[in-house]
Subunit: 280 residues, 2 copies
C-alpha cells in the first residue's frame, strides 16, 4: 500500500490510527504465556480485535529481535496476518552506509514485504537513498522524536551551511528540510512526536505536504487533539501510533475486548476530528 491509498483508507475508515505491536512475552496475559507460539497468538488476537478501528500496524523490530531467530519468524508471520487493507510499518530505525543500507532496504521491502520502514538520519544521504530507490514503498525518517532526550541532539541549534547570514535552525528542522528534498511526499514520511505538539506546527510549515508518523499518544502522554490541531494538512497528513495503551489495555481473559474498546475509543475521537476537519 502506498501513501495515497493510506489517505483513502483514513477517509473510508474514519481514523488515522496505527497500532504498534510492541509485544513482549512477559507482558501478555498470563493465560496465554504458556501456549506454544504465545506472542504470535497474542498478535493475531490483537489484530482480529482491532483491525476495524485502525488503518495501520507498526511492528517494532526490537521486541522480536530480543527473541532471536524465533522472533524473526513471529515478526514475519505477524506481518503476513495483517490484512492488506492496512498499511504495514517496520519500526526498525536503521541507518548505515550505502551498501549496508541497501541490505536493510532489501530486508524490510523485499524479504519482509512491509509497506514502510523507519530509518535514522544521522549518517546522511547515502544511508537513506537506498530506501528511497523503492519508489512504491514509504520511507519514514526520524525527525523530532517523542522521548525526553530528543533535547540532547535533535533539538540542538545548528548553523546552516547554505546560508550567508547567521540564521540558525534546530537540528531536527534541518534534517527534515534537507531530507524532504530527496524524495516526493508520495514516498517519504517523518516521525514527529506527539509530545512535541508545539514544535509540530513549525515542522508542518517546513513540510506542508508530508505525512507524519506520530508516536507518543497514549502511555507517553501526548494529546490527540493537539496533534490534530498542529499537524493537520490538506491531505490529513497524520498517522498516529498507539502501542502499549491499546495492546496491553487489559491482562485478563478479556484482553481482546478491552484492546478493541480502547482502539474504538481512539477511532471515535479521530472520526470526530475528521468530521470536523473535512466538514463531512
Amino acid at each position: 500500500m502506498q501513501l495515497h491509498q493510506l489517505s483513502e483508507q483514513i477517509v473510508d475508515r474514519k481514523n488515522f490510527l496505527c497500532i504498534g505491536l510492541d509485544t513482549e512475552l512477559n507482558k501478555i496475559p498470563k493465560h496465554l504465556q504458556q501456549q506454544p507460539n504465545a506472542v504470535l497468538h497474542f498478535n493475531k488476537a490483537i489484530i482480529d480485535a482491532t483491525k476495524d478501528y485502525c488503518v495501520s500496524y507498526k511492528i517494532n523490530t526490537a521486541f522480536y529481535e530480543a527473541m532471536g531467530s524465533k522472533g524473526w519468524d513471529i515478526l514475519e508471520d505477524t506481518l503476513h496476518y495483517i490484512p492488506n487493507t492496512h498499511f504495514t510499518i517496520a519500526d526498525a530505525k536503521r541507518g548505515d552506509i550505502g551498501n549496508t543500507a541497501a541490505q536493510y532496504a532489501k530486508a524490510f521491502f523485499e524479504t519482509l514485504p512491509f509497506d514502510a520502514v523507519t530509518v535514522a538520519p544521522y549518517m546522511g544521504e547515502d544511508s537513506i537513498k537506498p530506501f528511497l530507490e523503492y519508489t512504491h514503498k514509504t520511507t519514514i525518517v526520524l525527525g523530532l522524536t517523542s522521548n525526553k532526550s530528543s533535547e540532547d541532539f535533535e533539538q540542538l541549534t545548528v548553523l546552516s551551511k547554505d546560508s550567508h547570514s547567521s540564521s540558525s535552525k534546530k537540528l531536527y528542522e534541518l534534517v527534515i528540510e534537507k531530507i524532504a528534498s530527496w524524495a516526493t511526499p508520495n514516498q517519504l514520511m517523518f516521525v514527529v512526536g506527539a509530545t512535541k505538539a508545539s514544535e509540530m506546527q513549525s515542522i508542518r510549515a517546513i513540510v506542508p505536504e508530508h505525512f507524519f508518523l506520530v508516536p507518543g499518544v497514549g502511555t507517553q502522554g501526548g494529546s490527540l487533539n493537539e496533534v490534530a490541531e498542529f499537524g493537520w494538512n490538506n491531505q490529513i497528513g497524520l498517522l498516529v501510533n498507539v502501542s502499549r495503551a491499546i495492546i496491553y489495555a487489559d491482562a485478563s481473559e478479556n484482553f481482546q475486548q478491552m484492546a478493541a474498546a480502547e482502539a474504538a475509543k481512539y477511532q471515535s475521537e479521530m472520526a470526530e476530528i475528521l468530521n470536523r476537519k473535512l466538514r463531512l
Copy 2:
C-alpha cells in the same frame, strides 16, 4: 570479552584488526553458492583462515536480516563459531526510545551474547543508557562515520547550549563529548571513520582514553598509517575494521588462502606500527 582484555589481545597478537563479516550470498565464491547453508559455510571458512591475524570480528546485521529468519540463524551460528579469544561486535546501529532500546540491548547482549554492539546517537541519552546498563559489555556509539554524506548532518556546526559564549562545535564533536560523560572508557567506544583521519586528531583530544572502532580502511580507501598517527592513545585505543577487502579478496577455490594472505598483510603492517609505537 571486555575492552581491557581486548587491549591485552592486541598486544599479544600484534594487531588491532577487526574483520567485518558483511556476507552476501551472491558475492561469495561461485562453487560455494549452491551448498546448503552456503553463507554460514563461507563465514566459518573465513574465520578459520583469518583468526590468527585479527583480534575481533564484526557481524553486520543488515546482511543477515536481508535473508529473513534464516539469516538470523546464520548470524547466531556465526557468532558461536568465533573463538572466545576474539572480541565480537554486532554492527547493528540501533537507536530507539528507552523501553525499545532495552529490547535491542537484550537482543545483542543476552539472546545473542555479543561483546559489543554499535548504536546510533540521534535520539539521545534514553536511547543509549539501556545498553550502558550492561556494564560488562561494550557500547559503540556512532561519532564521525566513514561515508561521504557524514557531511549532511554529523559535520554541521552546532551551538553548545552549555556555553555562555558563542563557541561552536561540530555535531559529531558534541555527540562524542556528551556521550563520553555517560560511561567510563571501559565500556564505551566511538565509531570514527578512517576516511576522516584529519578529524581523528581533534576527536582524540576530546576523548583521550576511549577506544575507536575505525571503519573505512580497505575498500573505502582510508589509510592505516594515518589512523595510527592520529588515533593512537596510550592504551592503543584503536580497532580497525576491514570487511570486503579481506573476505572478498578472491572468488576462486583459493578464497581462504587469499583472505588469510590479505588479513596477514594488515596484521603485519599493524605489528610494525605496534612495535614502533610501543617500542617493543
